[in-house]
């Protein structure tokens, strides 16, 4: 596949992520922040997000497994996850966190577990998508091309 094709494939792919609500405008912001002095900025930030999120998800899972569930703590974790997902534009993850927090407030363990599953699902989805996106970018760069800036009107 030649560079031009790869680039349009990437563009379409990225756009679809926005259309499906997996990513929001914040991701665009990140891309715009990237520059020559920081060519891997987006990848770095997203990596931080992945690490942080996985840790949080584990903490939440562990907390929910306790005999006596500490909802306050879980809520704090979910809040954190909400914050970091908003940092990269992982919109669906963020929304799932919002719902999760409501159940934490109600101290509903059953629903909370369900929410955790939901959040996890969204998280793995966005992780998968972003990894694919980065791979596409790498391929373009490897082929000597440059990654086009997505232009979307939000």
């Amino acid at each position: 596949m030649e560079v031009g094709q790869m680039q349009s494939r990437l563009a379409d792919y990225t756009k679809s992520l926005f259309m499906e609500g997996i990513l929001d405008a914040q991701f665009l912001q990140l891309q715009q922040l990237q520059d020559e002095s920081n060519p891997d900025f987006v990848v770095e930030v997203v990596s931080l997000f992945f690490d942080d999120s996985e840790k949080l998800l584990n903490d939440i899972a562990r907390a929910l497994d306790q005999q006596c569930v500490d909802f306050k703590k879980i809520d704090a974790h979910v809040h954190q996850l909400k914050g970091s997902s908003s940092s990269v534009g992982a919109q669906r993850v963020k929304n799932a966190c919002v719902a999760f927090r409501n159940f934490c407030e109600e101290q509903n363990a059953e629903e909370s577990r369900r929410c955790l599953q939901q959040v996890k699902q969204e998280y793995y989805l966005v992780k998968n998508k972003l990894e694919t996106l980065f791979t596409l970018e790498q391929q373009i760069v490897a082929a000597g091309g440059s990654v086009p800036m997505i232009e979307l009107s939000f």
Partner: protein, 591 residues
Amino acid sequence: MSFSAPSMENGFSSPRNESFPAGLRVLVVDDDPTWLKILEKMLKKCSYEVTTCGLAREALKLLRERKDGYDIVISDVNMPDMDGFKLLEHVGLEMDLPVLMMSVDGETSRVMKGVQHGACDYLLKPIRMKELRNIWQHVFRKKIHEIRDIESHDSYDGIQISRNGSELSDDGHMFCGEDLAYVKKRKDFENKHDDIGDHSSTKKHRVVWSVDLHQKFVKAVNQIGFDSKYEVGPKKILDLMNVPWLTRENVASHLQKYRLYLSRLQKENDLKASLGGIKLSDLPSKDPAGSFGLQSSINGNQNDVPNGRYQFSGDNFFAQDVDSKNHEGDLKRVVSETKRTLTADLPDPQDMRTQMSFDHSFGSLDSEVNFAAIPAPYSWSKAPENQFKEEHKPLLQLEDGFSQLPPSGIHNHIQIDDPLQSASSITSGLSMTGREICGPEKIKPLYPQYSSNHMSILSPKESAFDSFPVQSKSQMVKHQSFEPISTAISSMKPQGFNLSCITDFESCQRNLISATDSTFEPFNEDLTVCWLEGDCHSMNFGLPNVEFTDYIDPGFIAEFPIYLCDTLTSDTECPFDPPEYSIVDQGLFLS
């Protein structure tokens, strides 16, 4: 592009003057590593100088280490080691820097809390570049307010300044120059009236209440005895302190602040004891002494903080009880001399803020506390109510009422009267834990430096200082050496408490004109806030902490009011300069 202002590591350089707001020194605090990275990048893109921090405590440490090292702080609300609001309070009290809060949670109650605690703004995540680009306005606004406060200590209408301000061009620096020039002229004019003697004697030096000095103070107070609170008078304290250059007025002013502080702590303690949600009206109206009722700790968990940080909005603290005459031993009447009073007609939002910060702790304690112009339960001021009316400052925003100083015609009033009365009503709570009082070790006795600076800067313009209300921290600052206001102020500001608006202002003015900051640098460095809270656990006032605990609530310990940093202006050359009082008080709240 990563713009790095050529500021020196010590933060004293002020490349900013050239192209404000470029080079604005921002400290970002957020436990989320992702956000920290993003914000750093965004701020750099705005040409700001960024320092990131993942922990609140670390942030405070950084701020304290470099008093003048930052212009503005941006902090997340939720952090593991310390509540963002607490950090906010600390910063407001100790360094008097503008603080912006951030959160992914935009609930009204949270935002409200942020404002109550003194936040300049509350940003919602995800944060956009455009929001960050404009944060310099908070720095600038603060400077203007300070200038204004300085200017209006004589009930001068600060509107002039603000008007000038509105003419501000993109280049804040430019504006400052004009403004400063204007203010300076005014000051000079006023000085002529105030000038009571030769140049040197009219210089109003702010007394810097260093840790040592405060220790002496507290020791003296303790000696007199808490029980005889009504007898605790500045004169007695002064005698006991045996500090030759200190005036009774200095002590009186400081005493007032101290009382306020204690009162506030007491109040907090009480509030805490009764749990949050206590309405102001529920607060018992204590007698003047008791009214100090400051909660011992703004937040009970203050004690958790290793350094017993306390939050004081330096600004708020200066409740100078201007009309104290009417209230014998009525501590309550804390007049906030601070800026609020200074700006006659301007309901200074800043004041509001500072006020908020003052009682932000309260806010945290009692979420239901309502803002009341004059809180009924104002525990310590019953009579003052009437007085409040006089004040044009909406000081009464105090929620908790305590510690809020109903500004009673503050400006121009010599606090001297007040201290006398206040002194007597100082509760035994005066004992401050040494821990609380002492600021971090870093506090240096400014005095010596000041004097040297002062000496060197003497000039005909000096007289302008005299009429400066000493704002915020007592600083014997000689404006002369200040850098242009934009930088000077910002640099001054961070000094815990110490910045005397006026002095800074003056210097700024001068600087603006002279654009020399060389002398300022060292000066700034030396301006240390007298009272830095908490951290200085190692500080030893010379009074065993144990003593204090006898008298005060543990909560007190955590809070050493910044107000203690007495901005009393005391002329180094001429320690006895009564007219300076009002100035001092006013200057006090400059934090």
